[in-house]
């Protein structure tokens, strides 16, 4: 089990690929960050609140900021979305299926990045299943990316539809749990039931992810042209090798969780009051972003190894 994971990690440790993904992520996020920066700059203006915000945070100012910026993109700024809070907030939003529902502008950014990601994935998967230590060229990468874009886009739309169905079903199931506690039961019992159902739900989400990952790998390795066929191939591959595919997925997922947990321990708080400490905090947090992208690559890489070890379908 460990061999494909190590090989996947080695394949993911491709600085150029990683920088490319990080750049794409950062460039899409940057306009949003600039908009938030501008909103904060305008809101603080020439006031003395800059001092408390420079040194730490100011919840009094935040109360006023929220009141003045209750809608649109500026409304997305909140202190709990900085530092370790970003991890908790996003995990919670992911679990609850609320990533696209909070704010239209944010949904637009996510969909834009989704399209960029779909484009890049063609190049990424092609590289991960290609010969190891092959030279990286942007032209080659984007040629692959462009070549697989339509097929990966259809796969992305299919997976989005499956997730939509899963979240609807999940909402219905959790709604039933909620209803069963209207007239009886304790909160502890509810927590247990939510954890139980939540675990099953998360496993379903990840199983779906795994099938679509192998569908992409099959698309590249087998040259499958039709997305439904690729999904079928992904399902068949997972079904035929459940132990191997699940164990690899589970191991990388555990690594990702450990990584998230580690970041929550070292995530920079609000204390930076100078340019140097702020730069250090920024670099640290960008390493976290890069680390998350690396783990995403590592998972795909390990799965590609499993697929190729098995000799494909």
């Amino acid at each position: 089990m460990l061999s494909p994971i190590f090989r996947g990690l080695r394949r993911a440790a491709d600085p150029k690929l990683l920088v490319l993904l990080w750049l794409a992520n950062t460039l899409v996020a940057l306009p949003g960050a600039l908009a938030i920066g501008e909103a904060i700059r305008n809101d603080v203006g020439a006031s003395r609140f800059h001092k408390t915000l420079d040194e730490g945070f100011d919840m009094e100012w935040m109360a006023e900021y929220s009141h003045r910026n209750g809608t649109g993109f500026p409304a997305l700024f909140a202190p709990q979305r900085t530092g370790a809070g970003a991890v908790y907030e996003n995990l919670d939003a992911w679990f609850g299926g609320r990533l696209l529902s909070e704010n239209r502008a944010l949904a637009g950014v996510l969909i834009a990045f989704g399209l960029v990601w779909i484009l890049l994935q063609g190049g990424v998967v092609a590289r991960l299943v290609g010969p190891p230590r092959a030279a990286f060229s942007l032209r080659g990468f984007f040629a692959d990316a462009g070549g697989y874009f339509v097929r990966f886009l259809v796969l992305g739309l299919m997976s989005a539809f499956v997730y939509w169905v899963l979240y609807r079903l999940g909402g219905w199931a959790f709604g039933l749990v909620d209803a069963s506690f209207q007239d009886a039961g304790t909160e502890r019992e509810l927590i247990h039931r939510v954890l139980f159902l939540g675990t099953a739900f998360v496993i379903l989400l990840h199983a779906t992810r795994m099938v679509f990952d192998y569908a992409k790998i099959a698309t590249v390795v087998e040259g499958t042209r039709l997305a439904p066929v690729a999904v079928w191939q992904g399902m068949r591959f997972v079904a035929n090798r459940p132990a191997r595919t699940l164990s690899v997925y589970f191991a990388v997922a555990l690594m990702s969780l450990a990584f998230l947990w580690l970041y929550t321990l070292v995530a920079p708080g609000p204390g930076q009051s100078g340019a140097a400490s702020l730069l250090f905090a920024f670099v640290l947090s960008q390493l976290f972003v890069a680390g998350r992208l690396f783990l995403r690559l590592a998972l795909l890489g390990a799965q590609a190894e499993v697929y190729q070890d098995a000799g494909g379908l």
């Binding site: 996020a29 202190p79 996003n90 679990f95 992208l293």
Partner: protein, 725 residues
Amino acid sequence: MSDSPVGRFLSMFCRTLGLFLVLPPLLATALQGQAEPASRSNGSSPGLESTGASPSGALSPRNANYEMRVRLDPEARVLAGTQTLTWRNIQDTATSELWFHLYWNGWRNSHSTWLREDRLRGRSDRGSNIRDSDWSFLEVDEIRLADGTDLMPTRRFRAPDDGNTADRTVMVVSLPKPVAPGETVAVELVWRAKIPRTFARTGYRDDFYFIAHWYPAIGVFEGARGWNTHQFHAATEFFADYGVYDVSLELPDELIVGATGLLQEATSVGDGYTRHRFVQTDVHNFTWTASPDYIEITDRFAVDGLPEVAIRLLMQPDHLDQADRHLHATKAALEHYGRWYGPYPYEQVTVIDPAYRSGAGGMEYPTIFTCGTRVINPAGGGSPEGVTIHEAGHQFWYGVVGNNEIEHAWLDEGLNTFSTARTMDVTYGPSKMMRSYLRPPGGKIGGLVRKRYDDFEQSRAVYGSRFSRFISSDGPTMDAMSVPTYRAFPRGAGTLSYHKTAMWLHTLERHLGWEVLQPAMATFYQRFAFGHPEPDDFFGVLEEISGRDLDPFFDQVYHQSKQFDYALASVSTKPAKLRGYTEGPDGQPVVAGKESSGKEGPEAEDEATSREGASEDNKPVFRTEVVVRRLGGGVFPVDVLMVFDDGTEVRRPWDGRARWQLFVEERAAKLEYAVVDPDRVLLLDLDYTNNSRLVKPASQFAARKWSSKWMVWLQDLMTTFTFYL
């Protein structure tokens, strides 16, 4: 004393009497040396405008006394009750009617005033999800005088507030002969009440019961003004006279019971039922709760200078690890409110941790109150300590000072919100920001795990007085606070009663000083203990104790809904160099800087420097101009602080009346920044960001810092989103 019921009652009576004897000196202590600590005459409530004499030794007039026997049918969710009401007319006018509240008819059907207002306030206790078994009623089957005279033929329902004929929350009966001033009438009632699935913290969930507003309760007769018996409204609660409650509850054996007052006896009556008899004097309501799951914990509040109080805590098993937090918060309230305003006058307080999803949390009743917590609830975030202190605090502001909550809810809710924030602050310090997580899809189940963010502290001003809710609600632009609470727009009533009052009391504390406000509130507490004060009583006491004319302030915050917003409109600091013509040595106009005094050399240079704006030690002089504006309609005296680059600070008072004011300083230093209301006395200022202004704006670093931190969230979110693709 014997252990018999009578003996225990006598024991309790004597202890109450003893408390009465120690109350005045303790209240005087709370006044901290006020020149004329108000005194309580023998058992009467000095603030009550009544002619009725109180029974000897009583803390209150005790003119509305109840003896009840009630039996619960848990299958049918019905209470069957008999009660004897002994009512004494303590006004100087006779009355030939008796008015009763039948609050549970507020949930009789969707046409009741309570349900209509509940929909209007935008949040409903139950929404449209009300099943047939969830509704309630309170049916009076018999009502007769002690001599047997049947009053049922005279019974009718009234809707004095809105004329809603479908509302049956006020019942009136006519008496065969008027009750003269000082005269007593005894009425016997037989009634049935269907217990609702919780509305307004009242009802059942499974085998948990929280039973409030539940019996036919006499209104308040106000003499020439008639009966003050409002309908049951969604945003208002209590108003009743004080009395003695002797209540026997017949409940299934397995239920553990908490109630207003002290348990006198618990005896088996057969059929699997136990009769629990509770008695409490000098209260204006009676509430009880029962559940087989309660775990009872007892403790005592004992600090120097205040009477001991027995604490009975009924906890849910899920929250047993938080029992100490509930006890600590209860004691903090008893101690601080006791020292600031006056002692808690009863022997016991019962603290209830209600059942999950019972909807009964966070509510006050005489000598008993409910809190509310979650299984995963780290300390430091203000809960359950905040709600515990708030509801314990209501024992003072509502329990002892019995204002008309239906008309002036702010008199207890506002004073108590302010006092809660203060108690939280001195006991626990600033609270930390909390967020709830583990919110499954569908949105039905809320966050089950609370996470504390230690980096983000919330000050008493913001969190305790609920500043954020105040500015973000409709409150500031809604009704004036002088509008009776039951008439206020339901969506804004809470903001006015809780937040706005706390904000202006907080402002008064900063303006007058706690050393003035505290004895003023203590005087109000003492003077109107066991009485029904009106808003003017509170304003009068504040003016009396502070020795200040506070009418202009109350006029703006209470009689009108003025908004306050002072702003630093502009700042400039430039060399004080004179340009244009000035007077030359010969008295003729000459261009400034070109005139000559006939002196030469360094002497001439010094003079020129001086003319062009320099101090005596030859440093250039700068003219600083600060323009302050009053953007809101409200007027409040504020200071304007100017801070210069040599470290000097100049503070200039301003009465705040004009729409704008120019402040000028000429000194050998440049202005760095100016602040209007630098100590943030005026907490009601809706926009404090515009209260300060730097000559050189410096928000760039903060913007970069916080946007770069926020960007990580967006980057991580985008990475998370790719999970789906």
